[in-house]
């Protein structure tokens, strides 16, 4: 029997969309190529030869953005809780201590209380006090959820508000690396989303990491009667008379549905539709990263949660010209969330911007050597930032843009998707919709909100074409 909806991908957006549709009696199936859920924010384990046993890691989780306190209303996270019928307590959130934007000439701290960032800006950039207030006001009043908005350059808009270039670079750095598909700039609506989710609302970490979130979603989906199939790779999206009618899997099996929601990316979706439907092929995004994860024998001595490090007066946000760019990094100390247990090992994660093409062209032996080089560079940065942290390294894991591509099938290991977004989720093919990253809302919270709002708009409210 045909389904009401097929969802391609069991990442954050696919699972959230699935919950919404299943909740209201739709017959839904999620098709996931991997053998586990989570997508770009999944989990894995590494065997530890010296000590025996395995170590669990999260692929992506530095921070859950959009932190709210229990009972806070009218925020993205509270909307998400209501829409998915989850409770705040389910997430067991540990708020961040504080984070830091670290440039050579200045540092700015921020936390889940916007006043800290305000006072830091007032102290370091007293002449920009009114400018910063105007920016915050602009952000507050902007309706970033308007689905009809087109691309607007953030740098062009900000240049008229923040007149000190250093402050501008510092404010932009975390927002770019936590959510821009565009090189050196970002869409202004995306800037507003990121400003609110990082600076107004802030960071937290669910106890147990990303596994907790994924389990909540998978369980809620099953509870509502949704069907989830792993190792089910969608090869083609089938159309009839300009309308999507189903999919064909790699093994030849065909499934039909009224609506198809794809979370695999706009270019990756377009590639699977017969020629002639998409006038131009959407562009594959270039922003991809390298992540080094270090496990030490004790917790970090510094109490920052995330350091956005940049060793230049301007912030270069673009693919590295030489495999990876150590000029800047995100350094995450996942142990430095409040009420986190204090004994035991300490973890440090270091993210560099990377260059997909160069990593993809490496042969195996060179690839391993290059990863070792990255780890050495990241370790040196940890020493530089936290000189009193004299812990012994127990375990290192590095993953590259090709690792990301291998396990998520995002072309070129792109993390923030295409620069061609489809904000209302529509595609040139009727009944085929884009959810998640390439709809325009990204990050863990953003992707879930994307799945929710697209499922509402196209799966629940509107009659099929």
């Amino acid at each position: 029997m045909a389904h009401d909806a097929i969802i391609i991908g069991a990442g954050m957006s696919g699972l959230a969309a699935g919950i919404r549709l299943a909740m209201f009696g739709k017959k839904v199936v999620i098709l996931e190529k991997h053998s586990i859920p989570g997508g770009l924010n999944s989990y894995y384990q590494r065997r530890n030869f010296e000590e025996g046993g395995v170590r669990p890691f999260d692929v992506g989780l530095h921070a859950l953005t959009n932190f709210i306190k229990k009972g806070e209303k009218g925020k993205p996270f509270s909307k998400l809780l209501k829409q998915l019928r989850l409770s705040w307590d389910d997430f067991k959130l540990h708020p961040q201590t504080h984070s830091m934007i670290h440039f050579p000439e200045a540092q700015l701290k921020f936390s889940n209380d916007f006043e800290l960032l305000e006072s830091e800006v007032h102290q370091r950039f007293p002449h920009q006090k009114d400018h910063f207030a105007r920016l915050a006001q602009n952000v507050r009043e902007f309706n970033e959820l308007d689905l009809s908005l087109g691309y607007q350059s953030t740098r062009a808009k900000l240049a008229t508000i923040i007149t000190d270039p250093l402050l501008l670079e510092m404010l932009l750095a975390p927002l770019l690396i936590y959510g821009s598909a565009w090189e050196d700039d970002m869409d202004f609506a995306q800037f507003v989303i990121m400003f609110k989710s990082l600076y107004f609302e802030g960071f937290a970490r669910p106890e147990g990491g990303v596994r907790r979130i994924i389990k909540l979603l998978v369980d809620k989906y099953a509870e509502n009667g949704g069907e989830l199939r792993y190792r089910s790779s969608v090869a083609r999206i089938l159309t009839e008379n300009g309308k999507a009618v189903g999919v064909r899997l790699d093994n030849g099996e065909e499934l039909r549905a009224i609506h198809i929601f794809s979370s695999i990316g706009l270019p990756e979706t377009a590639m699977r539709v017969d020629d002639g439907h998409f006038e131009t092929q959407p562009r594959v995004g270039k922003m991809t990263f390298l992540e080094s994860i270090f496990v030490f024998d004790k917790k970090p001595t510094d109490d920052a949660t995330i350091v956005f490090y940049n060793n230049a007066p301007t912030y270069a946000y673009r693919p590295a010209s030489n495999y990876y760019d150590a000029t800047s990094a995100v350094v995450c100390l996942p142990d430095n969330y409040e009420r986190h247990n204090t004994a035991g090992e300490g973890t440090v994660r270091v993210t560099y911007m990377a260059n997909y093409r160069q990593w993809a062209d490496l042969v195996r032996t060179d690839y391993d050597a290059k990863k070792d080089e990255v780890a050495e560079s990241a370790k040196a940065l940890i020493k530089k930032l936290f000189p009193t942290y004299d812990a012994h390294l127990r375990f290192t894991d590095v993953f590259s843009p090709t690792t990301i591509e291998r396990y998520t099938w995002h072309k070129d290991g792109t993390v923030y998707g295409s620069i061609d977004k489809t904000r209302d989720g529509r595609t040139p093919v009727d009944n085929l919709f884009i959810i998640g990253t390439d709809q325009g809302f990204l990050g863990i919270i953003g992707a879930m909100l994307s799945g929710i709002s697209m499922a509402n708009l196209h799966g629940l409210m509107e009659a099929p074409q």
Partner: protein, 81 residues
């Protein structure tokens, strides 16, 4: 269903959608949005729950009729006979 029962149906739905809201002081003539933290997504849920639980269809053009508890009751009662 009589008006009192329809009112209870709507109350039950809202308390499932927004479990943190205090409904004991709800004024029937004042807009629900003004008194409770409900946005357009939540109104969609009210409509979807009416369909799921009571097989009542509320077309999109009638959403404004759900603005207050009193208008919900007068709009829905004839549909729930």
């Amino acid at each position: 269903m009589n008006q009192e029962q329809v009112r209870q149906v709507v109350l039950n739905i809202i308390s499932d959608i927004a479990p943190d809201e205090d409904m004991t002081t709800l004024k029937d003539e004042v807009s629900l949005r003004e008194q409770l933290d409900l946005d357009s997504m939540d109104f969609l849920d009210i409509v979807m729950e009416l369909r799921k639980r009571h097989k009542v269809e509320v077309p999109a053009e009638d959403y404004p009729k759900l603005a207050t508890m009193a208008s919900c009751v007068s709009y829905l009662t004839p549909k729930m006979q």
